[in-house]
């Protein structure tokens, strides 16, 4: 029986006993540098392990959390599968990144590696749209560069998209274009601050805590407020991005999706 399936249900004492009795037999050493577990099933199994062991810090879907960085947009400290394996297994010295539960098998670590790679999948997919035409729409009719930056060009009032193809699949991109209000990350909510003199400052919510909040207004100016020194503030949890539905044709939307999906990290 895999140890992993026990961890959520058994009592700590029993767990300790399992660990003590099975530890010597569990191969902890990394014996290969190529990932032997890369099937779709391995990815799904890896996802399950990830959610149990890594999600608390890195977010349930690996998009980053309070403690751990976003893992869907390339990796900061590993450039190979073996490097990923080593970090998942051992952690990163001098950081809060600790290694996976020591009772985890090498197999399950490799599965996590496969899952992490799937979050950064750069595999080509057949898409109906044309990326070159999509780029024209992005830079022209779509007015996308008013708010979005690609390779340093464009606005700041929407997410940076230079590598968006690494972190969003075509379905997600389509849905973000058609129904942008459906799933708005808190970073892109709007806050409307009424100052003590009654004037209003409104902008994107860059960061907020119990006592303070910071925003970027329409002119891309940065503001910081102490909540105790403003009259009130209102949080608007919709996106400032308009839907492309009805603005672009279905073909143009496909082109735009193809272009956005083509924006990926260059592999060195």
């Amino acid at each position: 029986m895999p140890i992993r399936s026990l961890t959520a249900t058994v009592a700590p004492v029993f767990l300790a006993a399992v660990y003590l009795t099975t530890a010597p037999a569990v191969p902890h050493a990394q014996e290969t540098t190529e990932n032997p577990f890369t099937t779709n099933l391995d990815v799904r199994m890896g996802q399950r392990v990830f959610r149990q062991q890594c999600g608390r810090c890195h977010g349930r879907d690996g998009a980053g959390g309070e403690l751990g960085p976003d893992l869907t947009n390339g990796f900061q400290n590993a450039s190979t599968d073996a490097g990923l394996f080593s970090i998942v297994r051992e952690g990163l010295p001098n950081t809060q990144m600790i290694g996976i539960n020591r009772s985890a098998t090498d197999q399950s670590v490799w599965m996590v590696v496969s899952y992490l790679n799937s979050l950064n999948d750069t595999a080509d997919v057949d898409l109906p749209g044309d990326a070159a035409a999509g780029m024209q729409i992005f830079n022209g009719k779509g007015n996308c560069t008013n708010c979005h930056m690609v390779s340093g060009e464009g606005g700041r009032r929407g997410p940076e998209l230079t590598r968006v193809g690494n972190r969003r699949d075509p379905d997600e991109l389509l849905s973000a274009l058609m129904t942008p209000d459906e799933d708005v990350a808190p970073r892109w909510w709007t806050v409307r601050v009424t100052r003590e003199d009654g004037s209003i400052i409104e902008g994107l919510r860059m960061n907020e805590d119990t006592f303070t909040l910071r925003l970027m207004d329409e002119q891309e100016d940065l503001w910081s407020f102490s909540k105790g020194r403003i009259r009130s503030y209102e949080r608007i949890e919709t996106s400032i991005m308009p839907s492309v539905d009805g603005v672009l044709t279905a073909g143009e939307v496909d082109d735009l999706v193809a272009y956005l999906f083509s924006l990926r990290r260059e592999e060195s």
Binding site: P69, Q76, N77, S86, Q96, S151, I201, N207, Q219
Partner: protein, 544 residues
């Protein structure tokens, strides 16, 4: 008491320098405005900001704010702390622009926080490969800024440009191949519309250089080799092919004189560090100060502090520029307390050596000759059996910033009185591997040695006062117009001294190694003093 009177006078006139109305409140105006070259040139005129690594282009690490001064410094209290999410020791000196602070973190990340509260605006995480070559920790010391763009060095030997309002990546340039041992840790220096930046890797047999990049496009404008190629006569100062792997890195931030259009930059040890047999000769331009015309990148003059260095005494110090009256003559000088334990003053226009005196314990030179060249004591080179020499590898001082106060006309340096046994061994060069040819060992427990903050008169090299630090310090120094000198220690103290007398006025246990330099700024008319200690950035201000 003269300093007292001066401080009062400055305090009365202090309000306008904050550049914001006295009734200004948080949220009354937007934070951050673009930093033009004009603003950088005149950074001293907006002391509420700290616009570059050393504060101003002359690198004095001097704050013109005087709200906190030598009579009220005891009222300093903690205003906020920013916890870096990596445990590596911080070496960062933050930059502050109109209420926004930019803090670099290990390994190669940067955050923007509200300078009044320490709360986050944005974060940029730089992706890194897992086979980095790093000699001495996952360090980053800070950013440079021009317009709305930040410039940062990364451990994989890249220079990145980051949008200062959003943290978006604007461009990225590979400066050198990290797999050959190159890395980048120092804050770049903006000069006009270019970004001047050095390289690290002196323990890996790299071949050093200093670069200038177009700030807008990231294109390389010029590269000055810190080891001249075979077509240059100075190449003859390297035996055989040793110049190809001779190190001479450039891993700290330099200074700039706009009137002379000269960029000043220090270079590191020749490689291999401790075995000079394979690189006989002076090994130019290792361990040197280099003065380069910015317009062309042409080398105007150089001064080599330690010819044929075999003790790893990098000239990786921040050059400090000032104008002094010496022997009745106005002099544009450059001051330099070197790792080799000697303090130097030069004419920075010509490179003429003016003053040279030891400022820390040393046993390797009888002194300096009339040109500033050391007169070596025989038998002080490393041997397979070991040779006891002062200073140790860490030097009489090291890379951490010294400071200069134009009010006291004193140069403040972190000095270490220590010694070590130096060893040499044979070592083959393998690309990407360490290439040092030896090492050192302390012959006594570290607590037998100690550091001092030393205040030096740059006109004579004479010691004005010293402040003893037990056990020792590897922290930088800031001087202020409030006649204060701030620094810290390895055991986690942050303290303030009187800049005139050296008397201790205030200290605070911040709990962990202070390994960076303090800086100061103001928001809404309130002066703050910031220091990174351990992996936390602490900001202090006067009691409200």
């Amino acid at each position: 008491m003269k300093p007292f009177v001066i401080a009062i006078a400055l305090l009365v006139g202090a309000h306008p320098v904050f550049g914001q109305p006295a009734e200004s409140q948080p949220g009354a105006a937007p934070s951050f405005s673009p930093v033009t070259w004009e603003r950088l040139l005149n950074a001293a005129d907006e002391p509420h900001n700290w616009l570059m690594y050393s504060g101003t282009l002359d690198s004095q690490h001097f704050s013109r704010l005087d709200q906190v001064h030598n009579r009220n410094v005891s009222e300093l209290e903690l205003k906020w702390a920013y916890q870096i999410p990596q445990l590596d020791r911080a070496e960062t000196v933050p930059v502050v622009v109109d209420g926004v602070m930019f803090i670099t973190e290990a390994p190669s990340n940067v955050v923007a926080v509200d300078a009044a509260t320490g709360r986050l605006y944005w974060r940029y995480n730089h992706p890194l490969p897992d086979d980095l070559r790093i000699c001495c920790g996952r360090n980053n010391r800070g950013v440079a800024i021009l317009g709305e763009t930040l410039f940062m060095s990364t451990l994989d030997a890249k220079l990145v440009a980051i949008d200062a309002r959003s943290g978006n990546l604007v461009w990225e340039r590979t400066v050198a191949d990290y797999r050959s041992g190159y890395s980048k840790t120092a804050a770049p220096l903006v000069v006009k519309d270019e970004v001047v930046t050095g390289i690290a890797g002196g323990e890996f047999g790299i071949k050093g250089f200093i670069d200038s990049y177009n700030a807008e496009t990231g294109e390389l404008e010029w590269r000055v080799d810190t080891i001249p190629g075979p077509d240059h006569p100075d190449n003859q100062t390297w035996a055989g092919d040793s110049w190809r792997t001779g190190g001479s890195a450039s891993w700290i931030t330099g200074a700039y004189d706009p009137d002379l259009d000269l960029v000043y930059w220090g270079t590191g040890n020749p490689g291999p560090d401790w075995n000079g047999d394979v690189r006989m000769g002076d090994n130019l331009y290792s361990d040197s100060a280099m003065a380069m015309k910015h317009e062309t990148g042409g080398l105007e003059w150089y001064f080599q502090f330690t010819p044929h260095d075999v003790h790893d005494w990098d000239a990786i110090q921040v050059p400090i520029l000032a104008d002094l009256t010496m022997d009745g003559q106005e002099r544009k000088v450059m001051m330099w307390a070197n790792r080799n334990a000697f303090f130097y003053t030069f004419d920075r226009e010509t490179g003429e050596f003016l003053v040279g005196e030891p400022f820390a314990k040393q046993s390797w030179a009888e002194g300096l000759d009339s040109n500033g060249r050391p007169i070596r004591i025989p038998d002080t080179f490393p041997t397979p059996e070991g040779t006891l020499v002062a200073p140790p590898v860490g030097g009489g001082t090291n890379w951490f910033s010294p400071a200069y106060s134009p009010r006291t006309e004193l140069f403040y340096v972190q000095a270490f009185d220590g010694e070590a046994i130096y060893f040499k061994r044979d070592e083959e060069y393998v690309e990407g591997d360490r290439y040092t040819g030896g090492g050192q060992q302390y012959n006594l427990p570290m607590d037998k040695y100690q550091s001092f903050i030393r205040a030096i008169d740059p006109k004579t090299g004479n010691l004005r006062w010293e402040y003893e630090i037990q056990p020792r310090s590897t922290a930088g120094i800031m001087a202020t117009a409030g006649d204060l000198v701030f620094s810290g220690s390895v055991d986690g103290y942050f303290f303030a001294l009187d800049a005139v007398s050296g008397q201790e006025l205030w200290h605070m246990n911040v709990g962990r190694l202070v390994h960076s330099a303090p800086m100061s700024y103001a928001v809404d008319g309130k002066q703050y003093i910031t220091i990174a200690a351990g992996n936390v950035v602490y900001t202090f201000g006067l009691r409200d």
